[in-house]
Amino acid sequence: MAAKAKPVPQVALGLEPGPFHDRLVAHNRQQAWMNWMGYASPSVLDTVEFEYFAIRNQSTLFDISPMCKYAITGPDAESVVNRLVTRDIRKLKPGRVAYCIWCDEDGNVVDDGTVFRLSETEFRLCCQEPQLSWLEDIGWGFDVQISDVTRDIAGLALQGPTSCALLKDLGLAGIETLKPFGIAGFEIGGAAVTISRTGFTGDLGYELWMEPGDALKVWDALMPAGKLRGLRVIGYEALEMARIEAGFLLPKVDFLSAQTVLRADRANTPYELGLEWLVALDKPHFNGRRALVDLSKQTPRRKLVAIEIERDKPAHNALVYHKKTREVGQVTSALWSPTCKRNIAYAWLEAPYGQSVTDNLWVEIYLQKEIRWQRRMARCHLVAKPFFVHPRRTATPPADY
C-alpha cells in the first residue's frame, strides 16, 4: 500500500506568509526559508547554481514584497523627499525612478533605496530598513502625508535576459519601449500592474507592483507564459551572487546604517562608500548637508572598494594586507563570479590604502580542506564597479532572447 504524503508544516519560525506564499511553498523544494522583515522569504528553492544561471541566461521571479515601502504624497512631497535624500530629486521626472541614499545630521548614511516618482506630488520610497519614524522626522512641519504601504503593495522582481520577451508574450504592448528606471502601468492576468525597469541584478529586468489581492492572479499568468522563456523562481542566495556582480551594496553586509551602529565610528559617509556621485551639495538644504560639505573636503577615514583577487578561491571574511604584513582592511562580500569568471569582492580599506596606496595589496583567504584550515595569500587589485556589465541591461528596446 502506497504511503500517503502527509501535509508538512510549511513555515515554522513564526514568519508571516507573503502575498505569493502559496505559490512559493509549491516551488520551495528545499523548504529553506529566511526571515526578511518578518516575512517567510525563500533563501534557495532548488539549487542555487540553477537559480543564479537563470538570472543571467533566462528569467527569474523573486518575491520582493517584504521590502519596506513608503508613500510620500502631498503639496510638499517633493521638498520632503529632496530634504531626505542626497540627490537632487527635483530633477527626477514623474514616471522615473532614482537610486538614492540618505544621511543623518553627521553625514553618515542611514539607508539606501529607490525613489519612485509616480506624479508631481506622489513619491514612493523602497528600502531595506524600516524608515517610518525617520521619514516623519524629516517631513515634520511640511504639508505632506507619509504612510507605510509595505503591506499594501506586492512586488515581484522579474529579472533576466528573456524577461522583456516574456512580458511581450503576455501582450504588454510597449513594454519594450520602457527605458531603464522608467515606470509604466500595464495589465497582467486581468490585474493592474505597475512595472518599473529596475532591479538588483544588473541585468535586463523589471519590478512588478500590484495589489496583494491580485498577487496570485499575476503569478499564475506569468508562470505559464514563462515556460518557453526558462522562467524560474529564485531565492535570496542566487540574487546575492548577482547583486555582488552588479556592484550593489547591501546594508548590514557591506555597511551599517547610522541608525543601528553602537560604535559611532562604524557608521559610514557617502564618501567612504564611494557614493559621492549621489550627493548634490549644490541643492537646497537637505539632511546632513552641512556635515557632508565638511566631509567632502576631507580624506575619507576608510573606503569601500571593489577588488579582484588572483586565483579562484572566494575571499569570504578575508583580511586585507599591504605587502603581506600590514593589516589594512577586510572583505565584506566575496564571490567567484561564474559569469565574469573573476574572483571578486568588496573590501573596506583604512586610509591611505585604497586611496593613495593601491598596490601590493593581498588578501588572506581561509580554506578548509578535510577539517584542516589553510591560509592562502592572494594578490588583489582595485577595480571599477560593477563587475558585470552587459549592454542588454540598458538596451531599449531589449533584444528578443
Partner: protein, 503 residues
C-alpha cells in the same frame, strides 16, 4: 539687500538689549526689533508685567556695560515674608531668618552659607559659553575646568556633599536640614518657581543652587529691586544700546529670518519689509526662533526632533489685583514696598499643588509669590503650577477660578483684602506664550533641568548660541545659562558672535 546693519536682534527683552548693547559697544551697527509696543519684554509692560521681580542682573554685565551700578544694585536686599498657615510671617534676608525658633535660625544660616559656596562654584560657568559635546574649544574647556577647580576648592567634604545632593531633590535636602514649614516652603519655591517640578522632583537642588548662583553686591542668591523699579532697569539697558549707536524699533513683528546661501541674511517683518544684516540674534524662545522664524527647511530632522522635544511647558500665571487700601497683616503691621511675599506654607503644600498641575488641573490651593507696589496700589501675584495645557483650556472661568483661589489664600493672611480689590487681571501661560514669543509660555523659555542645562541648553547640538545656519544666534533665556533676569544669555551670545568675527 543693502548692508545698513551689522546685526539684527529679534526681541527687546532684557537679554536682547544686553546682547545689542555688547555688540553696539564694539562698534557694530545694531537694530533691535520688538513686536510689542514697549521694550523690556517680560519686564517691560508697566500695565501688566510678566516678571515684576527683576533682581538678578549679573553685576559683571552691569560693570562691563558701564550701567549705573549704584542705581541698579545699590538698594538694600529684598526681604522675603514667608507665610505659614497662621501667625506672623517669617522674615528672611539672605541667610538670616527671624520669627522661627533659634535652632532653625542657626541651621538655616549654616545651610544658606553652604549652598551659597556650592552655588558660587557652579556659577563660574554662568558667563562662559558651555563646552561643545565632543568638540569643545580650549576656551570652553577652560571654563569647565575652572568650575571643576572651584568645586574642588570647596574642600573634600563639601565637594562630596555637593556631588551627593546636586541631582537629588529639594524635599529631602530641606527636610534633613531645616524641616518642613514656611521656611522650607520659601526655599522650595525658589527651587521650583517657573518650572514643571515639585520639591520632590529630582534635580530641584540643582535649580535651587542655580537660583542662588545669581549674584548681587549683597551676596549670592540675593535679589535687589533697582532704584526706580523694573522700568529703570529696562531704561538703563535700552539707553545703553541707543547711546552706543544702536537702533530700537518697537511694534514691528519679525515674520521670518532670511537665509541666503545657508547664512542668516536678515529678517522679513510682518509688514513685508525686509531688513538685511549678516548677523541675527534671536531673543525669542528656541522653538519659536527655529521652528517658526527660521523654518524647519533649513534644519536637519534630528535637530528639529530635539528642539520639538525640549521641555518648555509653562506653569506660571500672573495676577494683578488693584487694591485701594491695603489691609493689615493678620498678625498686625503693614506690607511695605519691595517686600516679597511667599505663600507656600509647607513643601507638602507645594508638592500637592504640583500634583494637580501634572495632570492638567488647577491646584485647589495654589502656591505663589507676590509683591505690593505702594505707588500703583497693585498687588502682583506670580502663581505657580497653573499648567499651560490646562484641561478645558484657559477660559475666563478658569482664570476667575484661579483668581478666587489665590484671593482665598491671600485673605487668610490679609483679612479684608478681597473686599478691597477694585480690579483684577489674569495672565495665563498661554497669554505669555502668545504675547512674548515664549513657546509653551515658559518664562525661562525652557525647563531648567539637568538634561537642559550647560552643554545641553536648550538642547543637544544647539548649546553654543550658534545655530546651524551661520550668523544666527540664540540670545534668550532658552540659551545657557537660562532663565531669570540675569542678562547672561544675551551677553554670552553676543560675545560668541563677536568671537566668530561678528560676520
Amino acid at each position: 539687500m543693502s548692508g545698513r546693519y551689522d546685526a539684527i536682534i529679534i526681541g527687546a527683552g532684557h537679554n536682547g538689549l544686553v546682547g545689542a548693547a555688547v555688540l553696539a559697544r564694539k562698534g557694530k551697527k545694531v537694530l533691535v526689533l520688538e513686536a510689542r509696543d514697549h521694550v523690556g519684554g517680560m519686564l517691560g509692560d508697566a500695565s501688566f508685567r510678566v516678571a515684576p521681580l527683576p533682581y538678578a542682573l549679573r553685576p559683571e554685565i552691569a560693570r562691563m556695560l558701564q550701567l549705573d551700578q549704584k542705581r541698579l544694585h545699590g538698594a538694600k536686599p529684598v526681604e522675603t515674608l514667608a507665610f505659614g498657615s497662621d501667625g506672623p510671617p517669617l522674615r528672611i534676608i539672605g541667610g538670616q531668618v527671624t520669627g522661627t525658633d533659634a535652632i532653625t535660625e542657626h541651621d538655616y544660616a549654616i545651610l544658606h552659607a553652604r549652598l551659597g559656596r556650592q552655588a558660587r562654584a557652579l556659577g563660574v560657568m554662568m558667563l562662559q559659553s558651555p563646552p561643545g559635546l565632543g568638540k569643545a574649544s580650549l576656551g570652553e574647556m577652560a571654563g569647565l575646568a575652572k568650575m571643576a577647580l572651584k568645586m574642588r576648592l570647596l574642600g573634600k567634604t563639601e565637594m562630596r556633599d555637593l556631588l551627593r545632593i546636586i541631582l537629588s531633590n529639594a524635599w529631602d535636602l530641606l527636610n534633613d536640614e531645616i524641616g518642613d514649614g514656611p521656611l522650607a516652603g520659601a526655599l522650595a519655591m525658589d527651587a521650583t518657581l517657573g518650572g514643571a517640578m515639585g520639591p520632590r522632583s529630582p534635580g530641584t537642588v540643582l535649580t535651587l543652587l542655580y537660583r542662588m548662583a545669581s549674584q548681587s553686591s549683597h551676596g549670592h542668591g540675593l535679589r535687589v529691586m533697582p532704584e526706580g523699579g523694573p522700568d529703570a532697569l529696562v531704561k538703563a539697558l535700552s539707553d545703553c544700546v541707543t547711546s552706543a549707536g544702536g537702533e530700537i524699533r518697537t511694534g514691528v513683528a519679525v515674520e521670518k529670518i532670511l537665509v541666503d546661501q545657508d547664512r542668516a541674511a536678515g529678517v522679513r517683518l510682518q509688514s513685508g519689509e525686509e531688513i538685511a544684516a549678516p548677523l541675527v540674534l534671536s531673543n525669542a524662545s528656541p522653538k519659536t526662533t527655529l521652528l517658526t522664524l527660521l523654518g524647519v527647511e533649513h534644519l536637519d530632522g534630528e535637530f528639529i526632533r530635539r528642539c520639538r522635544n525640549m521641555a518648555s511647558k509653562g506653569m506660571v500665571s500672573r495676577l494683578d489685583f488693584d487694591i485701594a487700601q491695603m489691609p493689615s497683616l493678620r498678625s498686625g503691621g503693614k506690607i511695605e514696598q519691595g517686600q516679597r511675599l511667599v505663600f507656600a506654607p509647607t513643601m507638602q503644600a507645594i508638592e500637592a499643588s504640583f500634583n494637580a498641575a501634572k495632570y492638567g488641573d488647577l491646584p485647589e490651593r495654589p502656591v505663589f509669590e507676590a509683591t505690593y507696589d505702594t505707588t500703583a496700589k497693585r498687588l502682583c501675584v506670580t502663581a505657580q503650577f497653573t499648567p499651560h495645557d490646562l484641561k478645558g483650556g484657559w477660559t475666563d472661568d478658569a482664570k476667575s477660578a484661579l483668581a478666587s483661589s489665590v484671593m482665598a489664600a491671600l485673605e487668610e493672611a490679609l483679612p479684608g483684602l478681597s473686599s478691597a480689590v477694585t480690579a483684577s487681571r489674569v495672565m495665563s501661560p498661554v497669554d505669555i506664550e502668545t504675547g512674548y514669543g515664549a513657546s509653551g509660555g515658559h518664562w525661562h523659555h525652557g525647563e531648567l533641568r539637568v538634561d537642559q542645562l550647560l552643554m545641553l541648553r536648550p538642547f543637544d547640538g544647539a548649546a553654543q548660541y550658534r545655530m546651524p545656519v551661520k550668523g544666527l544666534y540664540l540670545c534668550g533665556a532658552g540659551a545657557h545659562p537660562g532663565g531669570d533676569i540675569s542678562g547672561a544669555p544675551g551677553f554670552n551670545a553676543a560675545r560668541a558672535a563677536l568671537r566668530d568675527g561678528g560676520h
